[in-house]
């Protein structure tokens, strides 16, 4: 179960980030010990050596030293820059989703985590994942801000109402690890957690087949689109359709009324369902009603998944080889939205750290 890392008092190291974060941590501890021991030793040495021999005696004056001031301004600055760089490199990896990986949808709700796999399995407060596989979480919440935190993976991200946030990790150890909500969310905040089960790939396959799958998100979205919400009456692709065409939409550039161009990522699709009037596609009238309040976060996820499935080629053709996956935490960036597709021309993020 829980593997013990080599230093006691430290959490398990169970993701590809863990050793990097720990290395930076030890670097900082070394710096801290160096300065603490140095200053404390100096204070003790001075305090003893220069203790008052006689009450109220006046020692010689010393005004200061430009050389010393310069030295102890520049050296801390240089050291702090190394710390900044180390942190920046790790941060960039933590919050830059890889182009391929297993996508899992997470919805936070006071006070539980609702999780759905691509293949349809649902879990509450538990997340089963295979070891050695990149896992990408697309997260939102039905109420207040939460935070998905797995200490053994050394990463976390806030889950914010009204938008998607993303995180990713690749587990390196099989085991059972704490899942916490790290952003205070009300009455039962400390009870909003559970376990992440990292399984061998075979065990995971077995778990998948044993766990009765409901509809996959794509199937559920199709059902909503065609039957339950009536989206198809305007968006079904006939010649005189009143709504914009959705086939091939995902990850394409959309020209809006007013001349602005936006990328049709998950955030855009979500926003177009909830606030249709805010981003009207050029050539269409703003007649679509809002679906705010009528669809749950999980239904929204399903709709987004279905609309993404209408653009099978979109995933691989995204940003191209130049940019190593755009930042995942911002709404407007589409990289995290890349679908797991069989063909993978996109370059791997340079920062990716596979063991």
């Amino acid at each position: 179960m829980q593997n013990t890392s080599w230093v006691p008092l430290f959490p398990d190291q169970a993701s590809t980030f863990a050793w990097q974060v720990d290395a930076l941590y030890f670097y900082l501890i070394a710096i801290s010990v160096f300065f603490t021991v140095g200053i404390v030793a100096a204070v003790f040495f001075f305090a003893i050596k220069y203790r008052a021999k006689e009450k109220y005696e006046t020692p010689d004056e010393i005004h200061g030293s430009m050389v010393l001031e310069t030295v102890w301004s520049i050296i801390p600055f240089i050291i702090s820059m190394t710390i900044f760089l180390g942190g920046a490199i790790i941060y960039f990896q933590q919050y830059t989703s890889p182009p391929e990986g297993m996508e899992i949808y997470v919805v936070g709700k006071q006070w539980m985590w609702k999780i759905q796999h691509e293949t349809g399995q649902r879990e509450i407060n538990e997340l089963h994942i295979p070891v050695g596989t990149k896992i990408k979480l697309t997260m939102t919440t039905e109420d207040v801000i939460h935070d998905f935190f797995v200490p053994a993976f050394r990463t976390k991200a806030d889950v914010v109402p009204g938008r998607y946030t993303y995180m990713w990790f690749e587990a390196t150890e099989v085991g059972k690890f704490h899942l916490f909500c790290a952003e205070y969310c009300g009455l039962n905040h400390s009870g909003m957690g559970g376990w992440v089960y990292v399984m061998s790939k075979d065990d995971f396959e077995q778990w998948l087949s044993g766990n009765t799958a409901g509809q996959t998100p794509v199937e559920a979205g199709k059902d909503l689109f065609q039957n339950k919400l009536g989206c198809a009456s305007c968006h079904a692709g006939g010649p005189q359709q009143r709504g914009a065409k959705l086939e091939g939409l995902f990850n394409s550039d959309v020209k809006l009324v007013g001349g602005q161009t936006v990328k049709a990522d998950e955030q855009y699709i979500r926003n177009s369902i909830l606030n249709p009037a805010s981003q009207v596609v050029e050539g269409f009238q703003p007649i679509m009603p809002t679906f705010k309040g009528q669809v749950t976060e999980e239904q929204l996820n399903a709709l987004v998944a279905y609309i993404k499935s209408l653009s099978p080629g979109a995933a691989g053709s995204s940003p191209g080889g130049a940019a190593p996956g755009a930042p995942a935490m911002t709404n407007t960036n589409a990289a995290a939205a890349n679908k797991p597709a069989p063909a993978k021309p996109a370059a791997k993020p340079a920062a990716n750290s596979n063991k």
């Binding site: 930076l24 404390v40 305090a47 008052a52 010393l68 801390p76 942190g87 790290a182 009870g191």
Partner: protein
């Protein structure tokens, strides 16, 4: 010197009126314009709030003794930690050093009769009382459970507690800070005695100048934020809650734009106190005066540019995260400069270990750890793991308690003979200073380890493997509690039974030591003319050392 005899009076046969004896009716206190009396009234009220906040802290530590939420249900626990934070930050830490020691000492240190705007000073005390009373009323009614950070949409839509009443209390209290800051700035600019140039000001005054800048520029933003929160909560205008068209991240930007600089309101005055203590008890001019003075200003300015480091995992752009991380690292430099200069001041000094100096040396160690762990949290890749865990809790207690509270206690002891005219018990003072230091470390050091292990903050119950370190922490808190209660007892005792302190018990050159203890209402009988540099222990400082020693000896034998 001509004025010397007037400034240091001989032993007069009948006691002159000082600010404490000049009027004894309740009215003479409540309608006073004397900055010293106002400071005393702040001292009493702020101490009461500190005790209340401390009781909440005790409740937190007792609850966390066991993993289950047994002593307090989680609903109660959420209110307890929220109210601990609100009372300690808004009603204790922010007014502590500025409103008590700053109020009392700035006019004395610069040779003024009072602050520039004495009525405004009284007004800011009344505003503090009104804001505090409203907040206390709200706590009695049922309290608030949003965390002191009031994050939306929890605070605007979901919480069923007294968010509005407490928010209004904090809103009102903010004006007290603004007026105090304004008063200090005007006073420091216009009321300095002849010869008291900017670079002869004690560093305590420089630190308060920097603090005041932050107070008047930052506090209005938190007032605006609370107002917007109220609009959304009461009138359902969509500002922060996405279900009505708002943006929850906007709240965090606005909140931290004030609350990060507010952190510097809570540490800069402490740094000012420490500069005085280290120099006084080494009997040496402070090392690198200009560097310490300007580092205070640099901290105040850069403090406004780093609010985003509270939001590394909140969903803000990662490029914003990188910029805020960089700027945070830059702020570390002026703090480091101060620590190096304080240490260098000890070099070749004549160091004595009176109680205030024990606090000052304790501050050096604790602030060092607080500052260095700030580097951990500024390093953005590491803080993704550390934020919202006990590592944060430990870090800011090292800065706020290990820094500001320790400096505040050191300052209270150091100026106690000036404020009251009496000496406290040096023996009990030393014991309590050491208890505070040991208890503090035992309370908060284990929390760094807990945080790295991943224990989230604001948890009423926690997994069992975290219990051992929590027991250490609670044990430490009880030692810390004893260390903090002791000064209340022996300082109060000294008011009546303490030895007479004399005007200049530590034999120091600062202007506040050149008037009587306690000072007269008008501070100085003769307008002082400053001809010496700050921290001037040389023969040119105009002090008649032999005369002071003679007076102190007289007091000792009397």
């Amino acid at each position: 010197m001509q004025t010397q005899d007037a400034i240091i009076p001989g032993s007069a046969p009948e006691p002159k009126l000082n600010y404490l004896t000049n009027g004894s009716t309740l009215r003479s206190w409540l309608l006073t314009k004397d900055h010293k009396r106002i400071a005393i009234m702040y001292l009493i009220t702020v101490s009461l709030f500190f005790m209340m906040g401390g009781m909440y802290a005790a409740a937190i530590r007792l609850e966390l003794l066991t993993p289950a939420s047994d002593l307090l249900q989680s609903g109660t626990y959420n209110k307890v930690f929220t109210q601990h934070g609100i009372l300690m930050i808004f009603f204790f830490l922010i007014p502590s050093i500025p409103a008590i020691l700053g109020n009392f000492l700035i006019p004395l240190m610069i040779g003024a009769k009072d602050l520039a705007l004495p009525r405004v000073n009284l007004l800011s005390l009344y505003i503090y009382w009104i804001g505090g009373a409203l907040t206390l009323w709200a706590l009695m009614q049922g309290g608030v459970d949003t965390g002191w950070t009031f994050y939306a949409p929890y605070s605007t839509t979901f919480s069923n507690t007294y968010v509005m009443a407490v928010g209004l209390g904090i809103f009102i209290n903010g004006f007290s800070s603004i007026l105090t800051g304004l008063n200090f700035i005007v006073t420091i600019h216009t009321m300095r005695a002849p010869g008291m140039t900017w670079f002869r000001l004690p560093l305590f005054v420089w630190a308060h100048y920097a603090t005041s800048l932050v107070m008047i520029l930052g506090t209005p933003v938190v007032a605006i934020t609370i107002l917007l929160l109220a609009l959304e909560r009461v009138a359902h205008i969509g500002i922060f809650d996405p279900t009505v068209g708002g943006d929850p991240i906007l709240f965090q930007h606005l909140f931290w734009f004030y609350s990060h600089p507010a952190v510097y309101i809570m540490i800069l005055p402490g740094m000012g106190v420490i500069s005085e203590l280290i120099s006084s008890f080494s009997r040496k001019k402070i090392f690198g005066y200009e560097f310490i003075a300007f580092s205070s200003i640099a901290i105040a300015v850069f403090g406004f540019l780093v609010w985003g480091h509270h939001m590394f995992v909140s969903g803000q752009s990662i490029y914003a995260g990188l910029v805020f991380s960089f700027l945070t690292m830059v702020v570390a430099v002026p703090s480091a400069i101060k620590v190096f200069n304080w240490t260098a001041t000890l070099y070749k000094g004549s160091i004595s270990y009176d109680t205030p100096m024990l606090y000052a040396l304790g501050f050096l160690g604790l602030f060092l750890i607080g500052g260095l762990t700030g580097l951990f949290l500024g390093s953005v890749g590491l803080t993704v793991h550390l934020t919202d865990t006990y590592f944060i809790v430990a870090h800011f207690h090292y800065v706020m308690v290990g820094g500001q509270v320790i400096a505040y206690l050191g300052g209270i002891h150091y100026w106690w003979p000036k404020i009251t005219g009496r000496m406290y018990s040096e023996f009990w003072g030393k014991i309590s200073a050491m208890l505070v230091f040991v208890g503090f470390n035992l309370t908060f050091f284990p929390q760094f380890i807990l945080g790295y292990q991943g224990m989230p903050r604001r948890y009423a119950s926690y997994p069992e493997e975290f219990q051992v370190l929590n027991i250490f922490s609670t044990a430490g808190a009880s030692v810390l509690g004893v260390g903090l209660i002791m000064p209340v007892i022996y300082l109060t005792h000294s008011l009546i039974f303490g030895k007479k302190a004399g005007d200049n018990p530590w034999i120091l050159p600062g202007l506040e030591w050149r008037t009587s203890s306690p000072p007269p209402t008008e501070n100085f009988e003769v307008m002082p003319v400053v001809t010496w540099e700050a921290y001037d222990f040389s023969d040119e400082n105009g002090l008649d050392i032999d005369e002071i020693k003679r007076q102190q000896a007289e007091l000792a034998t009397a």
